[in-house]
Symmetry: C2
Subunit: 217 residues, 2 copies
């Protein structure tokens, strides 16, 4: 199956030309992101928690302390709305109405479950590390049994998802193009800065090459 | 009142040293953000929608098409969880367990209502424009009555809110500092690029000065 089948949860009605349901479009935006927002409900109250995530195939993973309210809730298998959003620019049109933002976002729906066992958790955390900075996992201290016990890793198979994006210049009303006002796009970019050494870094340890290959956005 | 009073919704138990409830801390993060994630519930299903927002005093505003499912839902006064998050860096510790992210985030709770009347909406949209690029509102075409009718602007007074942030180098286990592995922070920054002229920009119109003062992040 190359595309998700939208139900009323994910089917975009308004500006539907901005929506795509194929896996390639969804995965491309997910893979450019590291931060997601996880939405869940406790006794009718919505909660939205920002957290790091990673993807393998059609499954999304995130993790944290076993004491986290968010993780203790979603691991029960309650409905989850997962959103990853990247802001790409401000679109300054010749009217407020047509002013907009360039962005890429994915909204995915599903239910999550906690990975069982230390080995399964460790393997998932390895995948996260390898996605971000391949090779680093072998250099750092292995997780202890106690650390893995205190860590919850959840997996959510994507049941349905939609990718939404806007790009390009403003779409102004035809008569407004004659106005004497600047219009265009102010790009917004996520930039990775130069590595900052830990003040307690052992002397003589250089920043590894994999740091140069970290990409977000 | 200088601080929000947390209930179980916003009280941070784990890593509580990262949490602040005072308005200055909350407002500073909100004012550095333009994108938020709005969480709401329809028939038990959580939804999270990314959208632009702005703040006036202790009230948050966002807007969009009157046909938007998110706006049609939240304007009814249902419980909303509002989150704004800024990623500041990847924290590469000497173990996976202590690896982390530097970030700033606000989670706010409340109920929203729709602004009534074209004048009230237009005044709110003016405030949004002035926050982003002071002076531009006077240059662009005024909103038409039909545009304002088709736009919903909602306001949500913050009932309670928490600001959470992490900054600085890794906090490794004492014995791990002796390891021969690089550790430190990979900064992640939001950068505003050079303005891109609309391809249909009228000849002779220069980019206005207020574009240089746009700040996000």
């Amino acid at each position: 199956m190359d595309a998700y089948t939208p139900t009323t949860r994910s089917k975009v009605k308004r500006l539907h030309e901005r929506a795509k349901y194929d896996r390639d479009s969804v995965f491309a935006i997910l893979d450019a992101s590291i931060l997601c927002h996880v939405g869940y409900v406790i006794e009718g109250q919505p909660y939205v928690t920002a957290t790091a995530f990673w993807r393998e195939g059609g499954t999304l993973y995130w993790h944290g302390s076993a004491a986290s309210r968010m993780l203790r809730t979603v691991e029960k298998g309650v409905p989850v709305c997962f959103t990853a959003s990247l802001l790409d620019g401000l679109v300054l049109a010749r009217s407020g109405f047509h002013s907009s933002m360039n962005y890429r976002s994915v909204t995915a729906f599903g239910t999550a479950h906690a990975l069982k066992g230390e080995r399964e958790k460790d393997k998932a955390l390895l995948a996260f590390s390898e996605k971000l900075h391949p090779g680093r996992w072998d250099e750092i201290r292995p997780s202890t049994s106690q650390e893995l016990k205190g860590t919850t890793v959840v997996a959510m198979e994507i049941e349905e998802a939609v990718a939404k994006a806007r790009s390009g210049p403003p779409n102004d009303d035809e008569e407004d193009y004659a106005m004497d006002v600047w219009a265009g796009v102010i790009p917004v970019r996520t930039v990775i800065g130069a590595p900052e050494d830990d003040p307690r870094l052992k002397p003589g340890i250089a920043a590894p090459d994999y740091l140069k290959r970290i990409r977000i956005g």
